[in-house]
C-alpha cells in the first residue's frame, strides 16, 4: 500500500507542463485534507459525546497530529510557492488566514489533550473543543472573506491561478487520491499505536504485540 501511494505521488510530476506550478500537486491535496481531517475529527467528537464511543476519542487524538502536519505542509508549500509567483511568501489573504487559524486549532486541541492526567476527562473536553471549532471554521472563512474584500479587493485567489487543463487536472486528481491513501495509512498506523497504549491493561492488547 505504501509503495503504491508513493508511486502515485511521484508519477504525475513528470507528466505535466509548467514550472513552479508543480507545487500544486502537493499544495492542493494537503490543503484539501487539512480540512477533511478536521471534519473527520468533528464527526468522531460528536460520536464520542453523544454515544460515548471511546474509540472515537482515540481516533481524534491520533488524527490531530496528522491534521496539524498536513496543514503545516499546505501552508509551507503555499508560502514557498508564493515567493516566485507573488513575490512575497505571506499575504493576509482570506484563504491563507483561515488555514493558519485551522493550524492553530489543531495545535490547541493537542495541547489541551496533553494537559490532563485523567485521560477520560481529556477526551471529553477535547471533543467539546473540536465541535465548537467546527462551528468556527465556516464563520472564519466567511468573515475573513468580508474582511479581506475591504482591505485588499484585488487579492490573488489561489484557485484562480490554475488553468484547468486535463494534463494538469488528472495528475492533480491522482495526487489527491494518493495523498488520501497515504494519510489513511498513516492514520491507521498512529491510531493503532495510540489505541494499544490506551488499552494496554486489557487482555486483548497482549495478542497484538
Amino acid at each position: 500500500m505504501l509503495g503504491w501511494t508513493w508511486g502515485l505521488l511521484f508519477a504525475p510530476q513528470d507528466a505535466v507542463q509548467g514550472n513552479s506550478y508543480r507545487i500544486i500537486f502537493l499544495h492542493v491535496p494537503s490543503v484539501i485534507f487539512a480540512e477533511l481531517v478536521y471534519f473527520f475529527m468533528a464527526i468522531c467528537a460528536l460520536m464520542h459525546l453523544v454515544w460515548r464511543v471511546k474509540l472515537a476519542a482515540y481516533l481524534i487524538k491520533s488524527a490531530a497530529p496528522i491534521g496539524a502536519m498536513i496543514t503545516f505542509i499546505g501552508l509551507f508549500s503555499g508560502s514557498i510557492w508564493g515567493i516566485p509567483t507573488w513575490g512575497t511568501w505571506w499575504q493576509w489573504d482570506a484563504r491563507i488566514t483561515s488555514t493558519l487559524i485551522l493550524f492553530i486549532m489543531y495545535l490547541g486541541i493537542l495541547t489541551l489533550h496533553g494537559s490532563f492526567s485523567n485521560l477520560e476527562k481529556a477526551d471529553r473536553l477535547m471533543s467539546i473543543l473540536v465541535i465548537i471549532g467546527v462551528v468556527n471554521i465556516p464563520i472564519i472563512k466567511k468573515s475573513v472573506d468580508w474582511w479581506s474584500t475591504l482591505h485588499q479587493p484585488a487579492s490573488i485567489s489561489v484557485s484562480g491561478s490554475t488553468s484547468i487543463d486535463p494534463s494538469m487536472l488528472y495528475p492533480l486528481f491522482i495526487s489527491v487520491i494518493g495523498l488520501g491513501f497515504t494519510l489513511i495509512s498513516l492514520g491507521i498506523l498512529s491510531s493503532r499505536s495510540y489505541i494499544l497504549s490506551r488499552e494496554k491493561n486489557k487482555k486483548w492488547a497482549l495478542k497484538h504485540v
Binding site: 514550472n19 502537493l26 496528522i66 498506523l189
Partner: protein
C-alpha cells in the same frame, strides 16, 4: 500527455529558475510525511515493548 516536459536531467532540476522552490517544497513535504510514518512505527514498537514488560512482571 505522457511525454516528459523536460529535455534532460538538468532542466528537471532547474525548472526554468523555479527548481529550488519546487524541489525544496517536495523534499521537505515528503520528508515530513516520511518522518511521521517512522514516528508512528516507533510508537507502536514502544507500546508493544511496554505491554510485554508489564505482562512479564505481573
Amino acid at each position: 500527455m505522457f511525454n516528459l516536459a523536460f529535455k534532460n536531467f538538468n532542466e528537471i532540476l532547474d525548472m526554468g529558475g523555479h527548481g529550488i522552490y519546487v524541489w525544496s517544497v517536495y523534499f521537505i513535504g515528503i520528508s515530513i510525511i516520511f518522518i511521521s510514518f517512522l514516528i508512528a512505527k516507533k510508537r507502536i514498537k514502544e507500546v508493544q515493548k511496554k505491554i510485554i514488560l508489564k505482562n512479564a512482571s505481573s
